[in-house]
Amino acid sequence: MSLTLTLASRNLFHDRLRFIATLVGIVFSVVLVMIQMGLFLGFGHMVSTMIDHASTDLWVVPKGAKCFEDPSLLDLKLRDRVAATDGVAAAIPLVIGFSDWRLDSGEMTPVFMVGADLRDGGLQPWNVVEGNAQALSERGTVAVDRSYFERLGVTGIGSTAEIRGRRVKVVAITDGIRSFTTTPYIFVDLKNARTYTGTPPDRANNLLVRLNHGADREKVLQAVRAQVTGAEVLTTDEFRSRSRSFWLFGTGAGAALFAGALLGVIVGTVIVAQTLYSSTKDHLNEFATLRAMGSSNGYIYNVIIYQALLNAVIGFCIASGIGAIVVQMTAKSALPIVITAWLMAALAALTVVMCVASAIGAIVRVVRIDPATVFMR
């Protein structure tokens, strides 16, 4: 093994206080970027959770609908035309919308209704941990998520409340279906959803289009598009992407998260650059000695870059540990931080780039070393 790594590590660990300061800077930076990007990914997953869990191949949505929560309505006459298209197995209406939930205590809270015909499937509650989703076909029944119990004044199966003045009973409880807004999702049957949202019987918010097994998706998509006027036909991927784009970038939330991440990168780079520069300055005499002995500039750059890389590796490992704890802590929160393998890989690369870029100042300083100075001391 080359002595450059030994020299780099000894230079690094020699001044422990500075080394700790450098690590704090890197860890702060990486954790900040990790959290911001984890929030970005988590938010992206949250805003498309209904789309992700819908059992459908295509979505017919009102023209210009920006997201799943868009309250615009479709004329249900479309349903027959879509259902009659070759390759289409079913066109399932979906009714969504805001409503009012009155607790037994009389307190009111807004809720977001999600209703599809249970016989057709389409979009049903998932992760049911208590009760039975099939029971939603009965009039006045709802499914709620256990994370909203307190908010909704619910204690479990059989709890009651009122929606738009009508008595409802909890018959199914889910786990982990959380809304990225403060408004809880309430799953009901299609008919009940119309009642609670005031949607007329000849209207729906979306049509979930399921294709026949083995049907050519592209062909059917084009055929359905030809049948539909005044509405849009999107694949699940297109609708997911549109929904994420609206919530993340249309609202500025994504830009804010990216700005935070950028700030993290800048802070990290500045801290590492400053400490590397000061470490290099402290070891200038050694670098001048190396130069006097005839070492190439490249050899000295390697020592500095190894220092930067060691900083990066150690800092990233610590930051990853903190990231794992943060992920655990936020897993059940309203906005869980999602850290994927890709994000970790990107962060590792970013950490290395940040630390190596930070070495530029130190390298520029070393380039100016005059080896003759070792004879003056």
Binding site: T6, R10, P371, R377
Partner: protein
């Protein structure tokens, strides 16, 4: 035929600029021969160190020519000069300039590492170099665990481990007591006589005189009484050096 390792002809060097400009060297001719220990002596400010820097390819002369092992240095850029130093010259500094975080063996090995020599072969060479300076028992010691004399011996081992054609030493005994100074000079003399390197010792320490094969005096940037082609000895018994 002369076996010159470093040749300097008509070397002039101006330091500073404007009204503060100083003529540090005023036309110096000096050649270092294989197997010879040359002393460069002179008072402070006489131009000793400037000449050493020029001979060591760390400073470009204002006028004149330097060649190392037959290679002219005039056209070399900084990296080219570094390569000449790497390939042909070992340095011993007054303040040792060892790397405080590396062991004695690692300090010596560093001189090979910068030449791309690594692994067991390099470790063995470093061990042999330390053995030559009598420090084979201290290979794992850090510089702070060594005496001044021992540190200077490690520095010499570092200078010679790559078997350079020339060793340039700047006041190598200045910070040492008599016993250590004598040891250092004995080692430097053996490097010249047994290994065949050209050794130049810049010094104003008269105790080192008995170890010299040739003594060159410099004053006001000029060599005085420098019969480069003939023996110039101020002989006294080596045993008398360093007060013994």
């Amino acid at each position: 035929m002369k076996d010159f390792i470093i040749e300097a002809k008509e070397i002039k060097k101006m330091l500073g600029s404007g009204a503060g400009q100083v003529k540090a060297l005023r036309g110096v001719d000096l050649s270092l021969r294989r197997g010879e220990l040359t002393l460069l002596m002179g008072p402070s400010g006489s131009g000793k160190t400037t000449l050493l820097l020029i001979l060591g390819c760390m400073l470009a002369p204002s006028a004149g020519r330097v060649s190392v092992c037959g290679t002219p240095t005039a056209d070399a850029d900084k990296e080219g000069l570094a390569k000449i130093r790497r390939d042909h010259i070992g340095f011993v500094f007054q303040s040792y300039h060892l790397f405080p975080t590396l062991t004695a063996a690692q300090n010596v090995q560093l001189a090979l590492d910068i030449r791309g020599e690594r692994g067991r072969g390099a470790a063995e060479k470093a061990r042999q170099a330390l053995k030559m300076v009598g420090l084979e028992q201290k290979t794992d010691a850090l510089p702070r665990e060594l005496s001044g004399g021992e540190q200077q011996r490690v520095a010499i081992a570092r200078a010679i481990v790559a078997n350079p054609s020339a060793v340039l030493a700047d006041e190598p005994t200045a910070a040492l007591d008599g016993s250590n100074g004598r040891t250092i000079m004995q080692i430097l003399a053996s490097i010249a006589h047994e290994r065949g390197s050209a050794v130049l010792v810049v010094t104003h320490d008269p105790r080192v005189v008995p170890f010299a094969d040739r003594i060159v005096h410099i004053e006001d940037g000029r060599l005085v009484d420098d019969p480069s082609d003939g023996p110039e000895r101020v002989r006294m018994p080596k045993a008398a050096a360093f007060g013994t």
